[in-house]
Symmetry: C2
């Protein structure tokens, strides 16, 4: 083993060609698996590559060939569990594409930075979980032929392929589950209505309640996901003269905050959360949730990207992925203990 440190210049194809005594073009063809290279040449090239420890420079290769074989994923936070990203990665890998993920941290500036960086690297496409208020800035990218797919929330101000969860359907599943078990006073605590999913889910809840003839005045509490805000909302609906018997929480972090706020009272009101998360089954009682089809969302997002690549002019598609109710106990506590 060679222990020379910091050999300054990395070997290039020209070095390999010289070492092997062949033309540069022949090395290129060998490296790219072109089988029109004679076996003796191939062997000499292989030896030269080994001895110089040559590695092709992807930047140069991509610059010249045009394609990068890379797809960018701009998601909320790459350091947190992200089943959709996982599915995108798996599908992309199967298709021979590499996924580069970047965090947007729910920050508009970071989102734009990420997209800029991906577009600047001339990635083959972008899959984005939109956060910005307005995505008009994406139009230029799309116009220049970059396939863009949005998931979880629609990108506003721009027409792109989109994959969404069936938010109204999920809320309806939760509501009907509780209603059938006899609950009539049901509260909804969720995200700020300025956030897409927060708005859509709150609206869906109002619609469900109205359709069932159940009350919802004072029972819908959208707002920031903030421990004290959620504790207060919970207290207000539980200590009402006519207290609620069940609560629906609008997303995973709200659910966790609600469980924390309930403390020892967790299990005293029926609770159904939107979003499944790891360990939800280990709580006591187990948490009943409306789970999103993460795997399907990720797979679909990638497929929309791929079909856009093949048919740049096909019409924009919007796919809605169904949710699934998972019964674990917290939504099934007896109505009158």
């Amino acid at each position: 083993m060679n222990h020379v440190r910091a050999r300054q210049r990395r070997p290039t194809m020209a070095d390999v060609a010289r070492e092997a005594g062949v033309a540069l073009r022949t090395v290129s063809r060998y490296v790219n698996g072109d089988d029109t290279v004679g076996p003796d040449f191939a062997e000499r090239i292989r030896a030269a590559i080994d001895s110089l420890d040559f590695k092709v420079d992807e930047r140069a290769r991509q610059l010249r060939s045009g394609r990068t074989g890379t797809i960018g994923a701009a998601v909320r936070n790459i350091s947190e569990a992200h089943p959709v990203l996982s599915a995108i990665e798996a599908t992309a890998r199967a298709a021979g594409l590499m996924v580069v993920a970047m965090s947007t941290e729910d920050d508009e500036r970071l989102e734009r930075d990420a997209v800029r960086s991906m577009s600047g690297r001339r990635m083959d496409g972008i899959i984005i979980e939109p956060i910005a208020e307005n995505h008009g800035y994406l139009q230029a990218e799309i116009d220049s032929g970059l396939p863009v797919v949005a998931f979880d929330r629609p990108a506003t101000g721009v027409d792109v392929d989109t994959v969404l969860t069936d938010n109204p359907g999920g809320i309806a599943q939760a509501f009907e589950h509780l209603y059938r078990r006899g609950h009539r006073r049901i509260a909804y605590i969720g995200d700020d209505e300025r956030i897409y999913t927060g708005h859509v889910r709150a609206m869906a809840f109002r619609t469900c309640a109205a359709a069932a003839g159940a009350p919802h005045d004072g029972l819908v509490h959208p707002g920031p996901v903030d421990q004290s805000r959620i504790a207060a909302a919970l207290a207000s609906v539980r200590h009402d003269p006519d207290p609620v018997t069940a609560v629906i929480t609008g997303n995973a972090s709200t659910t966790v905050a609600a469980i924390r706020a309930l403390g020892e009272d967790f299990g005293a009101v029926a609770l159904v959360g939107f979003d499944d998360f790891p360990l939800a089954d280990l709580l006591r009682p187990g948490l009943t949730v409306v789970a999103q089809g993460d795997e399907e969302i990720g797979r679909t997002a990638f497929e929309l990207f791929r079909s856009r690549l093949e048919h740049p002019d096909r019409p924009i598609e919007r796919v809605v992925v169904p949710t699934r109710l998972i019964i674990r106990g917290s939504g099934e506590i007896p109505l009158y203990p």
Copy 2:
């Protein structure tokens, strides 16, 4: 807004120069914030960039300039929560570097693919959570001047800067905590000993037990993280003629599997887990854990990378980051109920 789709060729600096009626070099200098560009020229260039919607091609820029401003992170799974990655990202961003994360999925081949890809893209450095049996293949990268930093586990067969958790110290914290509370028969269930952390932690446990004069024959159960294997190990130590009163689990997934296996009995034996994880405080009882210094590990890894960049020939460093015991209840149940 321009709604032409798929304008084939993206505009280049040459296009901008032509449009603005200046030399290409001047555009380059404008784009790179070189303030030696006259204000009138700058304005014309700005207008041309806007009208053509020009974006610099990072690939070309990087190829020519040599630097990529990017650091690769090869971690177990980018789709799962990863506090260390989070810290690396934050530190790197503050230093103006972008982090590109790739999953290794605990698969040796994927690890090599990721490293190959990062090295091929001529990234400025690599931070890796090693999984492969042997990392000799990294030597060539290091020799060619690529800074490599390992964390969580050492890279075998190659000398690189490394950041590790104080595994023996963490196990000692758990053991002593239980011992002081009167526990004498304590079991350890953890990872396979072929895995570095699995080995080190099991050994540390044996050492602690021996030093305290506590028994450990038949009480140390390393092996695959497999629900049935862990359930069996747990059953064997609990249904012993002389049953254990406490259990230490060697990592997060083992802890979760153990809690699952205990079912309603969770809380019947004292349990301290290595690794903290989200929602550990919401379990009943709350989970007492030995938490790793994720933030410090990530920050340190990045700093080692940066110092290596500046001083390529400084000696290899190995940093050990302390753990912290977090008391939440599962490790403090009464010894004799």
